[in-house]
Symmetry: C2
Subunit: 161 residues, 2 copies
DNA sequence: TTATTATTGAAAATCATTTTCATTATTGAA
DNA sequence: TTCAATAATGAAAATGATTTTCAATAATAA
């Protein structure tokens, strides 16, 4: 297994991405596959599947295995660094979570035909009100500890309708 | 393949469920497997998986095949009679859609640990406002034809937290 | 009844994701 | 720098939900 770190370009000043601290803190190691996968996620606005990420990384780093992509995504999701999205077409899609270095809070429009996922941040203010009100009401009534929410609209994108 | 229609009890006055008209209208045939599957869905408030439906029907009608459950659910979803829910644990769950004979409009609380799905209808009025406003804004901005929406809260149920 | 053909169930096939396991890379300590 | 401990990796095999195939059978209209 040849990692070949030598000629890989990275952002964030020579191998010190914002996420490296969090990895260290959890006792996880910083590896080239992990750097590459995070690099792909950082440089796209799409909602990529594991295989799509695999193929993108594969171009510059052919040694990567699909297994590692799945494992890394699982880890990143557990750490709250990425979010998994289910567009209804049997395969999960991923994107960087909101946060200082990630995107900001948003929701999705999903095309029922082609599976396209569109981000939207409109009406977030009005949403916040409803959500916080609903959240406190529900957590009391159902004795449920709410961790996050999702608002999704399903329909047909411009190309599909 | 023995259907054994004889001793099966049905609701809705001897084999004339509310859905039979819709089936006829689409040229679909009314069969015992379909009756049984719809009967299970009509008599539960749970969100059952294909296999759970299969097992429930199996008690009174052992001839049923799991394949038929999947096929029937696909058909019912396409007809808008059932709704498919993804609770994040690799298997789809189903429930009767809203409507005259189905449930009323509601959303879900999903336990991230045990996968339990809880229905809620609280704050639907406030929601309606936000949703219709958001919907018209988004469909214009993104040229998207919105067909339906989903609001889901993820967290830990009483038993799991 | 009878003919037509939609529907069914069993078995095989798919396909995304997970597991296994031997090899290799990362890291902290010497 | 060197080295030992062990976390991470990749290939291949396994899994598990869902689909497909196909010959047999049931539902429907005539
Ligand atoms: Mn997004
Ligand atoms: Mn429900
Ligand atoms: Zn589309
Ligand atoms: Zn739970």
């Amino acid at each position: 297994m040849r990692y070949g770190r030598r000629h890989l370009r990275r952002g964030y000043g020579m191998g010190h991405g914002w996420w490296q601290g969090r990895f260290r803190g959890c006792g996880y190691r910083i590896t080239v596959p992990r750097e590459e996968i995070l690099s792909v996620l950082s440089n796209t606005s799409e909602h990529l599947s594991a295989e799509e990420i695999y193929m993108k990384v594969h171009k510059t780093y052919p040694g990567l295995g699909l297994t590692t992509v799945y494992r890394t995504l699982e880890l990143l999701e557990e750490m709250g660094i990425v979010i998994r999205i289910d567009a209804g077409d049997g395969r999960a899609r991923y994107e960087l979570a909101e946060g200082p270095k990630g995107r900001r809070h948003h929701h999705h429009l999903i095309c029922a035909k082609c599976g396209k996922v569109i981000d939207y941040t409109d009406f977030i203010e009005d949403e916040k009100e409803l959500i916080s009100k609903t959240e406190s009401g529900l957590s009391k009534k159902y004795k449920f500890k709410i961790l996050n929410h999702e608002i999704t609209f399903y329909g047909l994108c411009d190309a599909c309708k």
